[in-house]
């Protein structure tokens, strides 16, 4: 959409595809990278992107989708932060014969015809990967392992899933004990603040599991402030693998990071093209994500883009 809104409406006449993308907001660096990836790859793929930011509000996202329907875009894509509550508007999209692609997270509607496909990470799996590393790390040891957990924003999907995935894996072994678990709201400042309190309330902390890098980075400062060595005195596992996190990992301050890639733009654009062309697409596309330990981080760091 240019300045004058030219190009809105159906792009079919001139052959370019119009994609309406309803982003949740810009609550974190991760999300911003996600947005940027979508925008950049749309430009690269020659797709006309209509972008809207819902500022963390599901209502706004629904409004945006509805506007895309009135504007008759070719494809609608959006990142539902909340898994429920989309049926009505998606039915409207379906009635208007506009295909929908979910990014980042699935919705829990029984009607699977409401969307074409879903591309994104599996937060539960991420939690599991974190837990598995921990299990291997402490294999063979018997003394109890005291874990503190920095959760994401209360009620948010990544927080819920990363918590439960992690818990599922470690519950098999009674030596793992989560001694404190509190929300750090995905931010560094809160991460630091909560960790300071943890350090005072619990004498013996062995492991910190933070639901994202930022909280982990905040916690590192708290740990250093208490005169301990992060990564050594307290082992740290985080999720995301943003640049700062990778740096800390490479520096030995973090022990393990589970990647959660925001860069699903290129994959999304491929899907969009396929959907418009009428090709069949898989029901679920999981983004390519790995995990990093300290050595891998050193290797990967130089070409980390975000």
């Amino acid at each position: 959409g240019g300045d004058g809104g030219a190009g809105s409406g159906s792009g079919n006449d001139d052959g370019t595809i119009t994609l309406g993308f309803a982003q949740v907001g810009a609550e974190s660096g991760w999300r911003t990278a996600n947005t940027k990836s979508v925008q950049d790859s749309a430009k690269e793929a020659g797709i006309d992107l209509k972008f809207s930011d819902a500022q963390q509000k599901q209502e706004n996202q629904i409004k945006a989708i509805r506007t895309y329907i009135t504007q008759k875009v070719d494809v609608i894509a959006f990142s539902p932060v909340v898994e429920s509550g989309w049926d009505t508007v998606l039915r409207e999209a379906k009635d208007a014969k506009i295909p929908v692609i979910l990014t980042d997270r699935a919705i829990d509607s029984p009607d699977k015809t409401l969307y074409k496909t879903f591309i994104g990470s599996d937060f539960v799996l991420e939690g599991k990967k974190a837990g598995e590393w921990l299990v291997t790390e402490y294999q063979g040891k018997t003394e109890p392992v005291n874990i503190v957990e920095l959760q994401g924003t209360t009620g948010s999907a990544p927080a819920n899933d990363r918590k439960s995935g992690f818990a599922d894996v470690i519950k098999a072994d009674p030596k793992f004990k989560v001694v404190a678990s509190q929300t750090g709201e995905f931010t560094r400042a809160k991460g630091k603040e909560v960790m300071e309190a943890f350090l005072k309330a619990n004498k013996d902390i062995d492991v910190l599991y933070a639901h994202n890098d930022d909280m982990g980075l905040g916690a590192i400062e708290a740990i250093e402030g208490a005169g301990l060595k992060p990564g050594v005195d307290i082992k740290i596992i985080t999720v995301d693998a943003v640049k700062d996190g990778m740096q800390a990992l490479a520096d030995g301050k973090i022990n393990f990071i589970v990647e959660c890639s925001p860069l699903l733009g290129p994959q999304l654009m491929d899907l969009v093209k396929k959907v418009v062309a009428g090709e069949t697409v898989p029901e679920r596309v999981v983004t390519e994500e790995t995990t990093f330990n300290q050595e891998q981080a050193k290797a990967a760091l130089p070409n980390r883009q975000y």
Binding site: G5, F51, Q58, K63, T67, S84, G85, G155
Partner: protein
């Protein structure tokens, strides 16, 4: 004594007065139309009537919440709990319907009653213990949101047939449609206008906002009225929550985050004084439309990054407010 004052007053009566009373409303309306026209000129497809109707469809719940908020603000109070009560309502409805399998005919009145009850409780504390509404309703906000989380931290989809049928109910006319929620919201607005303009409760609301001490000395039922407005606001929030659950067909603790600010902004943009005693519900409706229209314009623009979205919202709000202020001031 000579009847001199009489002659003085004759003739000078009601100069400018009726217009002046409604001037902010007219100014707001005119600016709203201006904004809409700008949108029509700038974006294709904006002139589609459905765009305007969608503003109603998308903001029906906000409208209902704002009606309750108008009552509270007219008394000079404030209700910060509305957003959380909305969330609590969606959450409670969803959990009762889906997880407990209760009948919707039981759930609906129950959640409405609960909202009203919460408002009632806050009103009582505000009035009898003379604590500032800001704090009491802030505590109410924490309470309601906290209750949401204790019900569940994840969201619950509503698949109840009654709920879904209302949610998908469309009133169509000539290719356009509005949802059932819009009808409910408009009815609430109409009732609100009637109550404020034509009942003692409504007039007492204005009186308390004008001067609570005087209202008391004039022998008005201050306690009853003040508690009533918070009850009304609680009820409206619950109803707004029900409408939101129609709109989303889900219950979620995160719903309605920051909604209280939107509602307050709508009321104040509509010309109601935050200090109480002056303002109209029609203004509130306009205020909601202004916010909705700004959102629509942003969406139509379609190429704003997240931060430019916020900045543009701020700028549009600023332009609107300043113009509104300029118009009403010059006319005085």
């Amino acid at each position: 004594m000579t009847a001199v004052p009489g002659t003085v007053a004759n003739g000078r009566s009601r100069v400018l007065r009726p217009q002046q009373k409604y001037l902010p409303i007219f100014a707001t309306l005119a600016l709203l139309v201006l904004m809409y026209s700008a949108g029509v000129l700038r974006y294709d497809g904006f002139s589609d009537t459905q765009v305007v109707l969608n503003v109603f469809v998308d903001n029906a719940f906000l409208l209902v919440v704002a009606v309750g908020m108008t009552f509270v603000i007219l008394t000079g109070g404030i209700d910060l709990s509305v957003g959380s009560v909305v969330a609590l309502t969606t959450m409670l409805s969803a959990s009762l319907l889906e997880e407990r399998g209760w009948s919707p005919y039981l759930v609906l009145p129950l959640v409405l009653l609960l909202g009203a009850l919460l408002g009632f409780g806050m009103g009582c504390i505000i009035h009898y213990f003379e604590i500032q509404p800001f704090i009491v309703t802030l505590a109410g906000m924490f309470l309601a949101r906290g209750l949401c989380y204790t019900i569940s931290t994840s969201s619950i989809t509503i698949s109840d047939p009654f709920w879904t049928s209302i949610a998908q109910q469309r009133f169509r006319f000539g290719g356009f449609f509005i949802s059932a929620s819009v009808v409910v919201a408009l009815v609430v607005v109409a009732i609100g206008i009637y109550v404020l303009g034509y009942t003692r409760l409504g007039r007492n609301t204005y009186a308390i906002g004008g001067n609570p001490q005087s209202a008391l000395l004039m022998g008005l039922p201050v306690a009853r009225t003040r508690i009533a407005v918070y009850t009304i606001s609680g009820f409206c929030s619950a109803l707004g929550g029900v409408l939101l659950s129609f709109y989303m067909l889900s219950g979620n603790s995160g719903h309605g985050l920051g909604l209280e600010l939107d509602a307050i902004a709508a009321v104040v943009i509509g010309g109601t004084l935050l200090t109480g005693g002056s303002g109209y519900l029609v203004g509130t409706v306009l205020g909601v439309l202004v916010l909705g229209l700004i959102q629509t314009i942003i969406t139509f623009q379609g190429d704003l990054s997240s931060w430019w979205t916020k900045i543009v919202i701020g700028v549009l709000l600023f332009v609107f407010i300043v113009l509104q202020r300029a118009v009403t001031r010059r006319q005085r």
